[in-house]
């Protein structure tokens, strides 16, 4: 993968009336990567995509494609193409005409169009569908036509707006793999928008998590899962246990954290004494002992077990009533319900998160400026 930046979003804001939908967004998409913007509905991810495509105009900031600013370019003047959530296939045209549309607009020669369309059809495995109409296709087939129609123009970046959202679960899983395979084969940059975290984790080279208009973290799937930058991300991606507390002492990468139920040890950089923080520990990384463990002052009792196929989840209640989850293989022998246990973790498995993160400052700002 080359590190050339193909799309650069610079300090972009989007405001609709009273709604600040995208806030100070900075984003660099590298040549050939599969970058996903992930977030729940209304987080600004689709708006970001539409600004890059040219359907929406940024209120402030700039967007560069291959180093060239595109603010004053119409959608049809930009060398990016979009795959729409609703597919947006032209209902009155055959599959052939749908795919050929971009080339016909650019006045390509008929023979060339024919050749390229048939290449595209074989790429998306729809040979022989030329003469059909969109209404005669299944959801998955329409999806492939939409992709072929965009790819035939050889875009610098392919923008995909929840392209699998309308498909059923099984088909969606299959298409995820196909899309990823297609992307790495063609080497075209994909900027993908979804609200499905599993989809993002499966396909992406990098994931940008958006929350409330802000890009909270941009990193590889693994990094996001293992080192969530914010409390929101820690709870949004996968399951986790969150402990809110205050730093008592810092020793190198380790910090002693005072919680309501006693002190624990966590790992993280750049923290200072007395700072308010959260500790995140994944259920599968949480451990327990029948006796107290050095450095950890937590204790609780086992409230219940939930069997989820191959794994079993235990709910442990701490003295103040806070419930934490622990996950083990079902084959493991676990203490009886009601027994007292002492939760702890390998310090390296825990993640310390600033409480006063951007979300907090933003909340303060909102209060100040109404």
């Amino acid at each position: 993968m080359k590190d050339e930046i193909i799309v650069k979003v610079n300090q972009v804001n989007k405001i609709y009336g009273m709604n600040h939908v995208v806030k100070d967004l900075n984003l660099s998409v590298k040549q050939g990567e599969f970058l996903t913007l992930l977030g729940s509905s209304g987080c600004g991810k689709t708006t970001t995509l539409r600004m890059i495509a040219g359907f929406e105009e940024a209120t402030s900031g700039s967007i560069l494609v291959e180093g060239e600013p595109v603010e004053n370019k119409e959608p049809f003047e930009r060398n990016v193409n979009t795959v729409f959530q609703s597919y947006a296939l032209f209902p009155h045209m055959t599959i052939f005409d749908n795919i050929a549309y971009g080339l016909k607009v650019k006045k390509f020669k008929k023979s060339e169009i024919k050749e390229k369309v048939s290449q595209m059809l074989s790429l998306v495995q729809l040979e022989g569908f030329e003469k059909r109409y969109p209404r005669q296709l299944s959801g998955g087939q329409k999806q492939r036509v939409a992709i072929a129609r965009a790819l035939i123009n050889n875009p610098k970046v392919l923008l995909l707006d929840e392209p699998l959202g309308a498909l059923d679960l099984k088909l969606r899983k299959q298409m995820q793999l196909e899309l990823k395979e297609l992307q790495s084969r063609l080497g075209i940059t994909f900027l993908y928008v979804t609200h499905d975290q599993e989809e993002a984790l499966t396909m992406s080279d990098r994931i940008g998590i958006m929350h409330d208009g802000i890009l909270e973290q941009l990193a590889t799937p693994r990094e996001i899962y293992e080192k969530p930058a914010t409390r929101f991300i820690a709870t949004f991606i996968g399951e986790t246990n969150i402990f809110d507390g205050r730093i008592e002492t810092v020793e190198g990468d380790f910090a002693k954290v005072l919680l309501e139920n006693g002190s624990v040890i966590g790992k993280g950089e750049g923290f200072v004494k007395d700072e308010l923080i959260s500790v995140s520990i994944r259920p599968e990384k949480l451990k327990y002992s029948m006796e107290p463990v050095e450095g950890f002052e937590l204790n609780g009792y086992v409230k219940s077990y939930i069997y989820v196929g191959s794994v079993i989840k235990a709910i442990i209640v701490l003295p103040n009533g806070y419930e934490i989850k622990l996950e083990r293989l079902a084959s493991e022998l676990l203490p009886e319900i009601g027994s007292r246990v002492f939760p702890y973790w390998e310090v390296a498995d825990s993640v310390l998160i600033h409480s006063f993160d951007q979300t907090f400052y933003r909340a303060v700002e909102d209060i100040q400026y109404g």
Binding site: E57, E71, N72, E74
Partner: protein
Amino acid sequence: MTKSKHSLRANTIPAITTVGPITLWLLFLVAIPLVYVLVMSFCSIDEFYNVSYHFTLDNYKRLFDTNYLQIYAQSLFIAFFTTVICILLGYPFAYFIARAVSKRKAILYMLVIVPFWTNSLIRIYGWRSFLGTNGWLNTILMKLNLINTPVEFLYNRGTILLGMVYCLFPFMVIPLYTAIEKLDQNLIEASNDLGARGIYTFSHVILPLTISGVFAGSIMVFIPCLGFFFVSDILGGGNSDVIGNLIERQFQSGNNWPLGAALSIILILMTLLLVRIYQKLGGDMESLGV
């Protein structure tokens, strides 16, 4: 904040080019003419029957002439009964064709429309030929020895009602048909399943769900009825006028435009009132369109 070039190209210019022409059209050929009618209704006429722009309330005073009052009453009477007859005949009829097998349904529906491809005047004249003293009906009745001398069926309120119902019947049937066709058959089955009898199902399920069609149809029948002067011209022989006849006379033979304008204002006010009631009853303007 100034508008950017992008929003100008993406929004302002297309909005003006698409909506501009219709705005001008509606302004110059609907709004201004109606305002001008209002203005004219306060004007007087000179000795040559030309409109002169001297403010007067005379036209409105003349609206309360007893002869006119009688005609308004007659006109409302005709419009009311035309609407009632159209509902009573149209509802079951629309119900039967909307509930017919889908293959047959399209044909039955088309058969309601087909008569309208023949000019309405000629069809009304057809009725006159049928009902006249030497028309078909009299001939048949005399052949059957039911009557000895021809009966005059024409030139009374009954024939005007017949002509109005005839002209406006489809305008009742079409909205009713649309409303009834949308009705979910499962609801009727559910009601029957819950033990409701036919009449109860009709009054508690079918009618409430299709009443919008009745309202829309009533508007489409009642209002035009007030203005259809040619029906009473042809079938009424000049003794069963509607408001439309009064207006027509002022703009043609009577040549008193300001008075005609004042009479038109009555029709406009009635229309506004009825549309207002229609909307209050929950009627959708859109269903008056098609």
